[in-house]
Amino acid sequence: MFDSLSEKLESVFKKLRGQGVMTEDNIKEALREVRLALLEADVNFKVVKDFVESVRVKAVGTEVVQSLTPGQQVIKIVHDELVAVMGGNEDNGLNLSAKPPVAIMMVGLQGAGKTTTCGKLGRHLKNLKRRPLLVPADVYRPAAIEQLATVGRQLGLEVFNSSADQKPVDICSAAMRFAELNGFDTVILDTAGRHQIDDFLMNELAEIKASVLPLEILFVADAMTGQEAVNVAGGFNERLDITGVVLTKLDGDAKGGAALSVRAVTGKPVKFVGLGEKLDALEVFHADRLVSRILGMGDVLTLVEKAQSVFDEKETARLQQKLKKNQFDLEDFLAQLQQIKKMGSLESLMGMIPGMGKMMKQMQGAQPSENEMKRIEAIIRSMTPGERANHGIINGSRRLRIAKGSGTTVQEVNQLLKRFTEAQKVVKQLQKLGPKGLLKGMGGLGKGMLPFG
């Protein structure tokens, strides 16, 4: 739905071409689209209302810049404004500067992902050369303590020994003493999930806070939360004065508009986002990226960063040499596939490229899936080095052998060879654009969707 916000605005503004200034009248419809788009992304309706009003104020009277279409210009205003609301480029780091041990307290509704996030955060802190202690203080849910203990084992982190018959407050204060005596500098408290209207359990959190004086109280919020996000976050913030937010399960297809609501109602920054079930799937929050996600504009920055961190420089240099000499062969094709694979699922990568969301919809399954990637790999691996270097020599009987060897069919081998030939053509074209051709090519792709940035 959302990927089409830019399209919708384009169509709304078609009739506006030739007019120099945006007025109250001619942006009314566009603002309605913006409002619906935000509502569909689960941004709270109060927040949307105020937000749209502020966009209206900004947009009215703005001259339409020659190089942009009015639709693009509104999107730009919306984008900038959203980024500003989400805290822009403010520092989202954890505040841990105090006499150790410092405590970090995780709070939130049931099933938001507190325990998993505790583990991820522990790992993150360990990478920052700190010595975290995980403290299970959820004595209500069956096997919650066991869950954190298991997570700790997997990460090689120490987990405080507690049992379900203890009081959570006692566990936490005992854990602080234990940390002090045993040289842990950070204590991560995993509390039980609770509703913000549950007075008894909210009091318990207040008691824990009073007894361990945590420097950080992180509210863990599910990215899929709907309009309720405002009430829940407001309730927790009021009782505990949270210091930050962790947005979990952002690896799904939820737009995460709840983050905007939470931020608006609490004024507290989103510090981390959870992007998967694996214990390394925690990232520092970037406002502009979430905003692009909400607006369906892709996430070029994350993609580029991922690519930079994964692409082996030497390998890339070698490939570039080959590209220059026009010797791109199947071996290189395979190497490229593997590098892409290292960056994560193909779908998530494609989704990050602006405009690709729309293209993927049009292709409807024509893009290679994870399974297809595996098959391609199997086929290339069933070729001799000679065949990989020069696919021209692959005749009928070789095709049959390759198909048998890789457990595929001759048709599939043919398809791959055809695709590869096409890829070679593309490579040749990119070659003409110069050394940075690839990036330029990508820039061109995104131009219509991302007129700024």
Binding site: K46, G234, A264, E347
Partner: protein, 356 residues
């Protein structure tokens, strides 16, 4: 300069929503939520009844927010307006969307109201409210049916959903409920991924004296299910409930894993699973529609369990999900205790939504 302006806007937002300042008043679109959050925690807690018989009032309390939001807003919207015009309906559309009811359903509801408006059937707020209530109830009733586990033997119940919606807790409550009805129940711990998931299910099993078939962590869930099916047949249990790992519906591999679980069950016990229950968190917004769509495609969901209705969450999204995918809502979860699971009753649900 610009930065300052933005901050100013933002602070204003915070104030308005947190209710620090005077709640914004607006004739057309009053905002009862504006001043409310501060009062919510204490007020909500005082009114929260003890667990036990007062289920209806409990549900009502859980739904209080929805009602406040929905009916309160609609009343305020219509109040003071002699006639209901198209503008009012447009505002109404926004209100429905923001009650998590879903964009598509909202548009449909509005269209129906518009038609009645055209026929001059809706003269005032009460009529508008009755019409809306009837429409929502009709939607929930259209696909409503209670789960009958006596039809097959053993009856296999597959429980699926995204992470953290309350699958295992729901299964614990189901097991207790079925054993309370004199059924022999077996649980399968096919969540082999999340740390201590099987332990969690075992703890629930112990509470109602039900056996759990489990493997080691990291085992193939289909293997657990295979064993569980064999055991269910051999031990002649009445109901086998399969717990699966939470999975985001967009993860291809995990959805394939779930299809395999489904296949294995069907192979071992022909016709099974007899019910594939999708668990939805009442706090979930528009994403629930996407969840239902993809889970239905992959595993042929046949029913919904709506959890965590004891909070302030509205659960309005089930109106959309049930209608859009023709799925009955079977159960609702209204608390963390073992008996906090109820049959879904469309009339009560809608009444609770609308009762003053």
């Amino acid at each position: 300069m610009e930065q300052q302006e933005k901050k100013g806007f933002f602070r204003g937002l915070v104030d308005k929503i947190a209710g620090a300042g005077q709640p914004q008043t607006n004739d057309i679109e009053p905002s009862p939520t504006a001043g409310e959050p501060p009062a919510t925690p204490s007020a909500g807690a005082e009114e929260r009844p003890d667990s036990g018989p007062g289920f209806f009032s409990r549900l009502k309390n859980g739904l209080k927010k929805t009602k406040d939001g929905l009916v309160g807003r609609i009343d305020a919207l219509v109040l003071g307006k002699k006639e209901i015009d198209a503008d009012t309906l447009e505002e109404l559309e926004e209100i429905l969307i923001t009650s998590d009811i879903g964009v598509k359903t909202t548009v449909e509801l509005i269209r129906s109201l518009e038609q009645r408006l055209g026929r001059n059937e809706l003269k005032d707020g009460a009529a508008l409210r009755a019409a809306l209530k009837a429409d929502i109830l009709a939607r929930l009733n259209a696909h409503h049916s209670v789960l009958d586990t006596d039809t097959r033997h053993p009856f296999v119940l597959l429980v699926i959903g995204v992470n953290g919606v309350g699958k295992t807790t729901t299964i614990g409550k189901l097991a207790s409920r079925f054993t309370g009805n004199g059924k022999r129940v077996l649980l399968a711990a096919a969540d082999t991924f999340r740390a201590a998931a099987a332990e969690q299910l075992e703890a629930w099993g112990e509470r109602s004296g039900v056996d759990v078939v489990r493997h080691k962590e990291g085992a193939d869930p289909s293997a657990v299910v295979f064993d569980a099916c064999k055991a269910a047949v051999a031990r002649q249990v009445d109901i086998l409930i399969v717990d699966t790992a939470g999975r985001l519906h967009t993860k291809v591999n995990l959805m394939e894993e779930m299809k395999k679980i489904h296949r294995v069950i069907g192979r071992e016990i022909p016709g099974a699973p007899h019910e594939t229950l999708l668990v939805l968190d009442a706090a979930t917004g528009q994403n629930a529609v996407s969840q239902a769509r993809l889970f239905k495609e992959a595993a042929g969901v046949t029913g919904i369990a709506l959890t965590k209705l004891d909070g302030t969450a509205k659960g309005g999204i089930v109106v959309a999900v049930s209608h859009e995918f023709g799925l009955p809502v079977r159960y609702i979860g209204v608390g963390e205790a073992i008996d906090d699971l109820r049959d879904f009753n469309p009339q009560e649900f809608t009444d609770a939504l609308f009762q003053a």
